[in-house]
Symmetry: C2
């Protein structure tokens, strides 16, 4: 096991900061780009991260701590952010994500003691038994997945523009 | 063509800022992680970006502007940063990258007029004819390639730790 609570938190607290410095003030051409129909642009990825802060990580963590194997996790709709409207600006979304994340890190620190809780088991509605430490590791790698997605979606814009260099640019190979 | 000079600069100026907020103060466990022997850790990627600021983008751009098709680009050794020692700390590297990048963006703004120069042709030692606008697009996507690489290399650390979620985390599928 590589997971350490403090190191996981190092990533969790950086993600909203990185996203703000990356996306705030960027041209619409970058922000609106997609990899094709039905795929997410950068702003939709941020909306998905907000939804996961609200309905995924902490609710699941609390379910494990309170009910263990006696109650499956509440459902998380990975597409909820697409239905919940786009009334907020990107700046508001980035701010909301930052605040929710900070609150959730505080709760995480209060609730979880690695020695006592890492091996606790909860019930995922699809996978069955999962450990609290697996949920926590997934929270971190989920951030990385979506950071990586945003970079990839933007790079896609210049796929043709790079000409003969396309074969040497790893980010264009990862669809 | 999607490339616009101002939009390209938006990304170029963000990369050192994102990397600083991402990597500065991070635990060694994250910073030293690799995808295997012969692959780069995050700090080596930053060293490679520094080397490219010094020996790749501006020297090639200036070669096109001065000599066009009459002189091939100077060689760029993609592994030079591994030979040039690791005497600097990560913090020093991040600072060096930031300063070099700012200087290069200034030069870029002074030297390149999109209407006059985007279609100018230079000679790449391997590919032959390339356009100045292809070199510039590549600079941007090269940043994205290495941002994406750093995220991927770190995510690799928790490959086992995420348990049954591994199949749902895109960043773990992209090696």
């Amino acid at each position: 096991m590589e997971l350490k609570l403090e190191e996981a938190i190092e990533i969790l607290e950086r993600t909203p900061v990185i996203l703000t410095h990356f996306l705030s003030g960027l041209s619409e051409g970058w922000l609106q780009n997609r990899e094709g129909e039905g795929t997410w642009n950068a702003e939709e990825v941020v909306a998905h991260l907000i939804e996961a802060e609200k309905s995924n990580w902490l609710p699941r963590l609390e379910t494990i701590l309170q009910y263990g194997e006696n109650k499956p996790f509440p459902q998380f709709d990975r597409f909820a952010h697409l239905k919940n409207g786009a009334q907020n600006t990107l700046e508001e979304k980035l701010q909301e994500f930052k605040i929710l994340r900070l609150q959730n890190i505080e709760k995480l620190k209060q609730l979880v003691n690695p020695e006592l809780h890492f091996e606790l088991i909860g019930i995922h509605p699809e996978f069955g038994s999962v450990k609290l430490r697996e949920l926590l590791s997934t929270w971190v790698v989920h951030d990385m997945t979506h950071l990586s997605q945003i970079v990839r979606v933007m790079a896609e814009r210049y796929r043709e523009d790079v000409g003969p260099w396309a074969n040497y640019l790893g980010v264009l190979k990862r669809k």
